[in-house]
């Protein structure tokens, strides 16, 4: 059980409370010990041949500078203060401040020629995350909703789409399920209210599921009694009204209670992990968020996104003091992401887990007079790694000064099509929008980057 403000919080499950609950309602007992069962479940999930692919999106809020991460330009003044280092792949160089990632070069495909044209935060965030610029009344779903809908397991105890520490302020519509409806909304953990203003190392408090635990002052017995009462009260109303909202209410409550009672919710108990591993990920919201992502994917969640927001929320938006800030962000990014990949690999999960690294745009190669870089969408970088991806390669090329894409420009639709293919999703699947127009997951003109697909 977790402790908050010195008081023990009641949970609907947990080693002793679950036993008490089982006794109260006369359910069956579990044979094996809790932790033993969990471990074998995790193994099972990881190695099962039918295991569908999962996806982890590492979202860099604010627009990460490509020249200072994955597309260094050492020969030009635009390259700035950082030096490049070699990766495990000959000829592929990245920023000196991402040394752990450098060892994973063979698993990563760097896309250096993103060319997307939108350089306003709200529009660009929406564009990259939904595949569309915000347009009239159509409420486009975010990538996580689209993907998790296709990969979802309807009987799962955990929600199919979890968003960790999103900073939604600049583009709220880009983080929601849009016309797919609330049942495809992400479960948000550690949202911006928790993130903004809180210290980066205050990760414990923020990486919880809001309202998953019983409130202070409500004992388990009372909670169960209330739920029983609710069931009774619902019965008559429900029986006489077969409408969609009534059915949906029932399903949501059943799923919520199932989640409250489930063992899968143990995913959020990061304290179960060894200290050394937690240290390796980095004791901060992003690092622990990556660890949480691994645990969620392990328990069958098909889409998890982890946002790296830095201190101000849109941390990568480095109009000023670019190098100092990117260095600090890199020192968080590098161990988090690299450990994630290593951890997935050692559990046999990397081959079935696609990892995406992206922001809404890149940054100007020319350094401004505040030692900063401004918005730049003409030629920037994203990275794909893991499941469905043939790593160890670079796609596309920008000019020596970074100002232009020379080879293989990649549009948003191409990027999303590639992601879908890597996950084994049919891009022609259509969903009905809120204006009665069916809309494909990715538009048909999109060209996936076949070179990076395994």
């Amino acid at each position: 059980m977790s402790r908050r403000n010195g008081r023990t919080k009641q949970r609907l499950t947990g080693p002793w409370s679950r036993r008490e609950w089982l006794r109260a309602v006369g359910g069956t007992t579990l044979g094996a010990s809790m932790s033993g069962w969990m471990h074998s479940l995790a193994d099972d999930t990881a190695e099962h041949p039918d295991r569908k692919r999962a996806c982890i999106l590492l979202w860099m809020t604010g627009g990460p500078s490509q020249l200072d991460t994955f597309d260094p330009k050492p020969g030009h003044e635009n390259g700035g203060e950082f030096k490049p280092i070699d990766t495990s792949v000959p000829g592929m160089q990245i920023s000196e401040h991402l040394p752990q990632l450098a060892a994973h070069g063979g698993e990563m495909a760097l896309l250096r020629s993103m060319s997307t044209g939108e350089s306003d935060h709200t529009r660009a965030t929406h564009f990259v995350r939904t595949g569309h610029v915000p347009q009239g009344p159509i409420r486009y779903p975010t990538m996580g909703s689209l993907v998790s809908k296709e990969l979802a397991d309807p009987s799962a105890e955990l929600p199919n789409f979890v968003s960790i520490s999103p900073y939604r302020f600049l583009s709220p519509a880009a983080y929601g399920p849009g016309f797919l409806g609330p049942q495809y909304a992400p479960m948000v953990v550690g949202d911006e209210r928790a993130a903004a203003g809180a210290a980066m190392d205050d990760y414990e408090a923020s990486l919880r599921v809001e309202n998953l635990e019983l409130p202070d002052g409500v004992e388990l017995k009372q909670a169960e009694a209330r739920l029983g009462l609710l069931q009774e009260l619902e019965a008559r109303f429900r029986s006489e009204r077969p409408d969609v909202p009534v059915r949906s209410h029932r399903t949501a409550y059943e799923s919520a209670v199932r989640m409250m009672r489930s063992e899968a919710v143990s995913a959020f108990r990061l304290e179960e992990e060894p200290d050394e591993l937690r240290d390796a990920y980095g004791r901060n919201r992003f690092g622990q968020g990556c660890l949480l992502a691994r645990r969620l994917v392990e328990r069958g969640v098909p889409f998890v996104e982890v946002s790296l927001n830095g201190q101000g929320g849109a941390g990568w938006d480095t109009h000023q003091d670019n190098f100092e800030r990117v260095r600090q962000l890199s020192e968080t990014l590098d161990p988090g992401w690299a450990t994630l990949m290593q951890d997935l690999k050692s559990r046999g999960m990397l081959d079935s887990t696609l990892i995406i690294w992206a922001g809404e745009f890149g940054r100007t190669p020319k350094i401004n007079n505040m030692t900063g870089r401004d918005h730049f969408a003409e030629g920037w970088s994203t990275v794909l790694a893991g499941g469905g991806i043939r790593g160890g390669q670079v796609v596309g090329k920008t000019s020596d000064d970074g100002m232009k894409v020379l080879e293989r420009p990649v549009k948003v639709a191409d990027f999303l099509a590639t992601i879908c293919q890597a996950l084994g999703i049919d891009t022609d699947v259509q969903n009905m929008s809120n204006v009665g127009r069916p809309i494909r997951i990715v538009e048909p003109e999109a060209e996936p980057i076949t070179e990076v697909l395994a």
Partner: protein
């Protein structure tokens, strides 16, 4: 300006013959037969019943008073009744009480506030997901508020929307962005002719043009060229760098007379022409947008009155006569074409008086049917044989929760400038917003369920220590358990419990418990009521 509606007669019951439901008498509501709203209600019932006969449909029974009351409060003023309002209505024995309640609600300021929000949600839907659009919402709602308070007719409001000044109003203070103005309609659509045209078409005419923006519409008859001819009415609205430029633009008188537009990515410039293909008379000296507004609200336009009537109908009856409400098309005919025509004709003839239309709908027996399904034939929403259950908007949900739990908001919480806001209202808005426009398809999410079960708001409201409203009920010295349970039901569900429910709950609260536990058991009852679908939905 506005025709005065005759006051409903309060002098004893009138027996009114309506050829509906096999029974000719409605002895409960007294009415004045020459009241146009009442006559229109009669027309509604006749037409709806004719279809039932055709399809051998057995309608649901009439709603009981509690059902009618709660539903109508929510639809007109956006919240459930208070305990005393509920007690008053339920104990009133006047036969015309439903009609009087309707009129009271329509005359209350809360109607204006609610409908300002309803129309704003409709006209500026971008505000939901777009931060910049949200900033313009307060002034838009204030403008609607003002017009509704003036009793402006629907066509007047529409005209002003379409021809309003593009200069942000200013008195040179920080409060400028609250000054009433329809400018948000333009701002949210980024001043782009294509967005304005498709928005105006869908919202005000019920015609979806979006597909035709990029290609010839596959099903309907709109071609790409026609779309841009329509968009050309807003040619003068386009500004460069509209998004980045928060400064008022110098007024360009000529812009308002522009009526030609270049189709993007095509070597073609088109001149503005109406959806029906007819060409405007450009020699009247009126601005392009005025020409557009004249046509749109003109008596010759078959769409305007029908689209408006359809939306107001759908607000109360859940399903439009044309469904979806923004898709008037040959391939999507109305369920009751003569009824739609008659309502549209009357709406126009009576000067686009929204209240009249609302009264006609709410006075009808069709509206007053229960939402209980008692026969399989009631399952087709488009036959209106029972009231369909629909979700609540986030505003209705929060306002009802606040009402039920005695939550008092500070003035600033109600502040519409909800760009960044940690208030309970804002949290609810975020958690419960984003629904599909069709509230009959409203979905409940796991996060919403968790928030309602374990979240701070409901926990406080059901906490013995922290909820004054709950304490008042629980500790009222002259109440026994029965009376307390009844009070909880009235607060949350706006009705009294059935005898079965009462027996069960008295048993739950009283038996086998220490006196102290009774109080906790009562808070359990309130908790369950607030988490029930009966509370969280509009039925």
């Amino acid at each position: 300006m506005r025709s005065h509606r005759s006051q409903l007669s309060k002098a004893g019951p009138w027996v009114v013959l309506l050829a509906v439901i096999g029974s000719a008498a409605t002895a409960d509501d007294s009415t004045a037969v020459h009241d146009p709203a009442f006559q229109l209600a009669g027309t509604i019932d006749e037409q709806i019943a004719a279809r039932w006969k055709l399809e051998t449909v057995t309608p649901a029974p009439r709603s009981d008073d509690a059902e009618f009351m709660r539903r109508t409060y929510l639809n007109i003023i956006g919240r459930i009744p208070s305990v005393s309002e509920a007690r008053d209505f339920l104990s009133d024995s006047a036969p015309d009480k439903r009609a009087r309640l309707l009129d009271e609600l329509l005359e209350s300021p809360a109607y204006i506030a609610h409908f300002a929000t309803v129309w704003r949600t409709l006209l500026v839907p971008e505000a939901r997901g777009n931060l910049q659009a949200r900033a313009f919402v307060p002034s838009f709602e204030n403008w609607l508020h003002e017009r509704l308070s003036d009793n402006a007719s629907f066509d007047q409001i529409t005209r002003e929307l379409l021809t309003g000044s593009l200069q942000p109003p200013s008195v040179g203070s920080e409060l400028d962005n609250l000054l009433p103005s329809p400018l948000a309609f333009y701002q949210a659509k980024e001043f782009k002719p294509e967005n304005l045209a498709s928005g105006a078409s869908r919202l005000l005419l019920g015609v979806r043009l979006e597909c035709a923006q990029c290609h010839d519409h596959p099903f309907a008859k709109w071609r790409r060229e026609e779309f841009w001819q329509f968009a050309a009415f807003f040619a003068g609205v386009r500004r460069t760098d509209a998004r980045r430029d928060n400064q008022p633009q110098p007024v360009d008188q000529n812009a308002e007379f522009l009526n030609e537009l270049a189709i993007p990515d095509a070597d073609q410039t088109v001149q503005a022409s109406f959806l029906d293909g007819s060409a405007p008379d450009w020699d009247t000296g009126r601005t392009t947008r005025e020409v557009f507004a004249d046509w749109l609200t003109g008596a010759d336009n078959p769409y305007f009155s029908r689209a408006a009537v359809n939306r107001i109908w759908a607000h109360f009856m859940v399903t439009g006569l044309v469904d979806p409400v923004d898709d008037f098309d040959e391939s999507n005919p109305p369920s009751h074409p003569e009824l739609l025509d008659e309502l549209a004709a009357q709406f126009a003839a009576q000067g686009y008086d929204v209240k009249l239309l609302i009264r006609a709908i709410v006075l009808s027996q069709t509206y007053q049917l229960s939402s209980r399904q008692t026969d399989e034939s009631q399952s087709d929403r488009r036959l209106f044989a029972r009231m369909t259950v629909k979700g609540l908007t986030p505003e209705q949900l929060f306002d009802s929760l606040a009402q039920a739990t005695g939550y008092y908001e500070g003035v600033t919480s109600r502040n519409q400038f909800f760009v960044r806001n940690d208030t309970p209202r804002a949290r609810f808005r975020e958690l419960f917003g984003g629904q599909s426009d069709d509230l009959a398809e409203a979905q409940r999410s796991i996060l919403q369920a968790l928030a309602l079960m374990n979240g701070e708001f409901v926990t406080t409201a059901t906490s013995l220590e922290n909820s004054e409203a709950l304490a008042a009920i629980i500790d009222a010295p002259f109440y026994n358990t029965s009376a307390r349970i009844e009070a909880l039901y009235l607060a949350a569900l706006s009705r009294v419990p059935t005898s079965n429910e009462l027996d069960r709950l008295v048993d739950y609260v009283d038996s086998g418990r220490a006196q102290a536990d009774n109080r906790q058991a009562l808070s359990d009852v309130l908790w369950a009521l607030l988490n029930s679908s009966e509370f969280l939905l509009n039925h």
